[in-house]
Symmetry: C2
């Protein structure tokens, strides 16, 4: 796959640049904690797509590198804070930052990574006015992601959480942020507004599709937290399955589901999790989620029709490749 | 006091502008939690000084308002995160955000306030190049504050914490950030670099002086956490008293002090606190701290000699007033 190789090549380039932006020798609780997290890896796909989109649209990828790094640091800052908020103890087979360094350091190192993210975007070698617009998009996207996270955190105790609530949360939390790198790369390449609008529409469909896929993976394969299935049920995380089952299950099942979701993680038994997974099947929630994810992927693909003609071959091929990874 | 009235007037102006930047009707966990904190008040001195410094240097204060709001939101974001990191349950006689809304919402609402802070600075009605420099100063100051916080968090378990470590921490955590508003106001007024350097030097002395005063207030009057004295000893917070006593107390006292500081808050008795406070007196740490604070205030005043002649009467009078509040 030529595109896959290009993503891999650009991801390695970003990987190599990270140390220029997050030095290894800052005080205890910063560099060590930051690199404890950054060294867990991750595929660096978001920043790779930033560079590739910039080049595909006729820009110089090198000029997009600081923005790409900023996107990757924002992504990692959000993961560090999310892991505390969700109480997750393991990420990519290593203890999460709060587990290894304590909650105080983990909050603070997230704040630090965000400072480095803004510093990276500020280093973008572009004219002042464009740098200002890059910062505006970066800040607004960061804010929407945080807003989506607020909906996510507080959905956990909500008895009337609907599929619409879920989709709104997923769009805010993942939709804008998924394509932030590509939008920045496109802006640096001086792409026209219609290209940016197309990228936004693409993200608004594909982000929620990714999120739904994530919900399904948790039930079918486990999220890589030691391969345990049903973590979302144990944690009481508001998934699309939960939202759908709430409005499609019988009253008694509904009550029991809410009780299972509300129970503290350590009070949720394997039998509770198995029961909820079975309910998701019986209530048609699994099939509903699969179909919704497919429909969203189709919508994401459909949004590419609005790409200016000359960009179909370049950017369109890249986006189609990304969309296909969700099916 | 003419200056005090002017500070009060400008503080009220900032107060009135906050709602334009942090809307009241965002989702649960954002607006309500943010305003739970913002409504605890605070004197809004930092942003007031931003507007006053801008005007004193011949600029239009209105143009500095977004930056002033950004500084105030950064300040409050740091307080929300600090309260979690320190385990503080009360601020200005109200439950802290994490106590009222849970840790997950409190981390997230701090992140939200920071997004709003950057959005505010981005709204500064100044030319692109100056806005870029304002963002650079804002980001760098935020980063130094976080770096100081890392030193603070990790000093708690440090047996060889010195007065020099303390001063470095205090300078990073408070020195730059104390004068951030005034520096932004001065930049918007197009003040020359020597004025900015003078403001930086002023903050680098006065910030640590404030921090030492805060350490002393904790022992003499309590920090307004219900008026309880010695909270820093209960929390194991690395104060200048702790740093000084570590290198001036007898070996046995030193061992006991470390044990008291390391003990969990709920395992620290009133007798332990009284003993540590007495040790601080016996070891000369109280007197040392008072003298050091005075010396730093004098240094802050001395740094004003470098102000360009025509600024002595305006900015100099303001800064002298601020410095005097610490004595």
């Amino acid at each position: 796959m030529k595109i896959e190789q290009e993503i891999e090549r650009r991801a390695r380039q970003v990987e190599g640049a990270l140390e220029d932006y997050v030095p290894r020798r800052r005080p205890h609780g910063l560099s060590d904690a930051a690199w404890h997290h950054l060294d867990t890896g991750g595929k660096r796909i978001r920043p790779a797509l930033c560079l590739i989109a910039c080049e595909a649209l006729g820009g110089e990828a090198e000029r997009a590198l600081p923005f790409a790094v900023g996107v990757e640091l924002l992504h990692n800052m959000l993961l560090v804070h999310d892991d505390i908020e969700d109480g997750d103890t393991v990420r990519r087979n290593k203890p999460t930052v709060w587990k290894a360094y304590g909650v105080a350091n983990a909050i603070n190192v997230g704040d630090y990574l965000l400072a480095r993210a803004f510093a990276a975007v500020l280093r973008s070698p572009v004219e002042e006015a464009l740098r200002g617009r890059l910062l505006e998009v970066f800040t607004a996207t960061y804010e929407r992601t945080v807003e989506g996270q607020a909906l996510d955190i507080n959905a956990r105790s909500q008895e009337d959480f609907t599929v619409e609530d879920y989709l709104r949360m997923a769009m805010l939390k993942t939709g804008h942020y998924l394509v932030l790198g590509m939008i920045g790369g496109a802006m640096i390449a001086r792409a026209p507004e219609e290209t940016l609008a197309c990228l936004r529409a693409f993200g608004e469909s594909l982000g929620p599709a990714f999120q739904i896929r994530d919900d399904l993976i948790d039930l079918t394969a486990g999220k890589g937290r030691g391969g345990v299935k049903g973590s979302d049920i144990r944690e009481g995380k508001a998934s699309i399955l939960y939202a759908h089952a709430l409005s499609h299950a019988a009253a008694e099942d509904r009550r029991r589901l809410i009780a299972v979701m509300r129970a503290a993680r350590e009070n949720t038994s394997d039998a509770d999790v198995a029961w909820a997974m079975d309910l998701y099947r019986r209530a048609g929630s699994m099939r509903f989620a699969e179909e919704r994810a497919e429909a969203l992927v189709a919508a994401a693909r459909g949004s590419l029709d609005a790409l200016p003609g000359d960009q179909r071959a370049t950017l369109g091929a890249l986006l189609t490749h990304i969309a296909e990874r969700t099916t």
